[in-house]
Amino acid sequence: MSVPKLNVADVAGLARLSLTPDETTKFSSQLSQILAHMETLGQIGTGDVPEVVPPAQPALRKDIPTPSLTVEAALSNAPAQSNDLILVPKIVE
């Protein structure tokens, strides 16, 4: 496996980060170095290794209501609100 070409700006876009040109250059070189280190995994044979460990039976929640937050508490951290709705710039599809 060769070191993949990492387009930092593209990936940052997926993560909703906008980077300065400086950050882009710096992260590009740092991340390629890190990815080069990660490439070493390619040499480990994992043919029949299961990807996840066998599951335990998790405890599932019973369908019984529990109290919600008050509207006031729910909105107490909201940076912008009106009429008990949380406001954002207009969503356009």
């Binding site: 996840v52 599951p55 998790p58 929640r61 019984i64 209501p65 529990t66 919600s68």
Partner: protein, 486 residues
Amino acid sequence: MSSSGNWEAVIGLEVHVQLRTQTKMFCGCINQYGGAPNSQVCPVCLGMPGSLPAPNEEAIRRTILTGLMFGCRIANVARFDRKNYFYPDMPKNYQISQFDDPLCAGGAVGLDPFLFPKDLQETDEAKAKRSIRLTRIHLEEDVAKSFHYEERSGIDFNRAGTPLMEIVSEADLRTAGEAFAFLGSLRQVLLSGNVSDADMEKGQMRCDVNVSVRPVGQKEFGTKVELKNLNSISGVRRALVYEIARQIAAVEKGEAIQHETRRWDDEAGATFTMRTKEKAHDYRYFPEPDLLPVRTDQGLRAAAESGLPELPAALQDRLMRENGVTAYQASVLAADRILCTYYEKAALGTQHKAVVANWILNDFLATQPEPASSPVRPEFFGELADLVAGGTINSAQAKKVFAELMANPSSPKALVEKLGLAQISDASALGVYCDEAIAANPRSVEDYRAGKGNAINALKGFVMKKSQGKANPAQVDEILKAKLSA
């Protein structure tokens, strides 16, 4: 449905169905429509830092039940995955969904001929009883509801995190009518299992459509278009009729179909470009690390199995075979579980089950469309049918009793008495009436004896009039004949 015989449409549906549960998918907030904005939210469904999902057992059970009803394979071990994308209606900016190991895979939906649009029910496509394969059914969380203003949007998170089933069909559908019947048939089964109210108009069932066209006989699919904003089953049909015609017209003109998402405008009756798909989304699915895989083979599957209802197709069969109702009536009853339960209760105590079906489906529903809340006890219909069949009242009287039953519900027997309607079946009393009739109508007697069989009707009419309509007509007939031939 195609406007030209040389083209066929290829249609696949993705249907999102809100599950009926007490609480949300991953928290204990109530799952209920219509609360004040942001009054049914907690740290979990608001995606607060540090909160974690706790899966709702009942939602999982209902999804498995749905899978069982459609003949899906149920995964022994299912997993939840994160689907990553940013959107303000999604609190965590990832949706907990299922990707690699959904709860249900495969299965099929049989198209009920009577769930095609009325105008297509006599066509071959409706009678074909096709079966449409399902790809999968998985469980995920719903997003919040947004309201759009001039410059901003406001978000109410009450719906965020409510349990949602995604049912994905194979691209097996070929016509708009089939898509209509698919949604109706799907809904019928969902209702029978009581997993959802599945009302498209209320957003409890939401449908995205993928549609393309290709020359008949071609194997490859054409370029598909996704249709959004479909808010009713008939809307899906209209949108498809329009879109298929649009695509055929375009390719016949030599134009290429754009790979895009189009919005159905119900008022305009047309679809419009919403966005073109320049780049596929990269959802970066990966297993949800906050949740252990779900084992269904240690009780969950068995619990779902024990809740399996009689499926609509089997129910229709049984109603036709055992109760003698028509195929159409059976389909109507199977489509409405509440009505059907009411009917079955009504028919339970009588031999005359088909008669009861007629009463309920024709006369009763016209005045009382909500049988569940009707004050008319279902047993009354059986009683009424028995009164007619047993000769206590005749069918004309039965209509009077029925009207009274709707107005002042009480036992038909009591109503017959109250209205003074009981039929006179006492042979000696009827004999007196018959003697009077013979004495009063010598002409008719003569005619009858001369071989004019119809002449007896005048005598019968005389008896009915004398008895104020209470005489048992069958008995009167017998007595008159006996007396006249004596």
